[in-house]
Symmetry: C2
Subunit: 204 residues, 2 copies
DNA sequence: ACATTAAATTAAACATCGTTTAATTTGTCA
DNA sequence: TGACAAATTAAACGATGTTTAATTTAATGT
């Protein structure tokens, strides 16, 4: 075996990931290209294909890192809160804050239409995130059936994500300028109130 | 003045819009290109720039048509319902159904990161859609302050959109397979219940 | 120490893209 | 009929993701 440079495959992989993240942060998904990434790490576009399947694969690895950071943030916001409702409130706000702080990284996860379906190691990270919310809902609804909790988790998640998406892409500002945080609280509070008030209702 | 073909500017515009829509439906946003559109209407890519600013402008015009269709659908679902809650339920379901029926047209509205901010004639169409929901909320909360209604509309809209987005892009299937419609109902019902139960609560 | 060999890396090619430019066709009017 | 202007195109430009063949590099066997 022989290699010209003193970078191992893993090193190149790491360098490429960091370079991609930097470009993504500074120029957004539209400003990302294989040649830019390669130039940033002193290599050529072709070399990236030795380490990643293609640009989509590279981007997927950056996204999973973003998901990990998001996980840390959400976990931190889910700890010291007296009531479960407060936790779920805070986690939503933490999600929104994260998206605002890292708009390009965050939207890189959703902006793209992926060719292949997500690999397992990626879906696992998302499940990891869901688990964080699910724990709280199990605490909130201790006697509820498993699938009811799962349903609540998804509804919550969709709501928060919707606020984030429409809020950050400015699709709401055209109409009014309510803050995204207020919107999130309105949605969560009312949803949770409804959920905890009529635990026994059957409507399906 | 002289023109080679017997197509007026308006005709070409219309032809291009229809061709774009067809390509979008069949091949998705990733399969769309100026050359394809031009070829489909028997012209050359350059000719499109006589009629549209650029591809983004062309796509925007297709999207506004999609919004108009969506408006018709929502309006239809908002008519014959005994209770307001039922209307809001149905409108959400209609939105989801529309997105499922026209997945590529629907996601073309959101998948792309736009260079320029939306023109007024586009934002107006969105406001038009919001109005449809706002009417129902005003009916639901006749005594509420205007901004509270506006807030509720946005929360509702974000929730529904979030369900749609995460549901259609398959970001939820990785975890469980609850139907998108059930999810929508869970979110809406609980949110509305919370909203109508504690009308007088103050928490901001 | 040197030739061999295989891996690492690149340069170049390919097909495509959005957009702009100059060239060409076309129809109308003096 | 000839001149002019609008309509349309062909071609060019710079850029993209990806693949290929060529080249460089370092370790190995002798």
């Amino acid at each position: 075996m022989a290699r010209r440079s003193d970078h191992s495959r893993e090193q190149i992989k790491e360098m490429a990931l960091q370079a991609t993240e930097k470009i993504l942060i500074e120029q957004g998904l539209a400003g990302l290209s294989t040649r830019k990434v390669a130039a940033a790490i002193g290599y050529t576009a072709g070399s990236l294909y030795l380490v990643f399947e293609n640009l989509e694969d590279l981007l997927l690895h950056v996204n999973v890192r973003t998901l990990e950071k998001l996980f840390q943030t959400l976990q931190g916001s889910a700890n010291d809160c007296p009531e479960v409702q407060t936790c779920l409130r805070n986690m939503a706000l933490a999600y929104i804050t994260f998206a605002k702080d890292h708009p390009n990284l965050w939207s890189a996860i959703f902006e793209r239409q992926w060719q292949n379906e997500m690999p397992d190691w990626y879906n696992d990270k998302i499940a990891h995130l869901f688990q964080l919310v699910e724990d709280k809902f199990q605490q909130l609804l201790p006697e509820a059936r498993t699938d009811k909790v799962a349903q609540a988790v998804r509804a919550y998640w969709c709501g928060v994500h919707g606020v984030c998406m429409l809020g950050l892409t400015g699709k709401l500002d055209a109409i009014s300028d309510h803050s995204t945080e207020e919107l999130s609280n309105t949605l969560i509070d009312n949803f949770l109130f409804g959920l905890t008030s009529k635990k026994e209702s059957r409507d399906d």
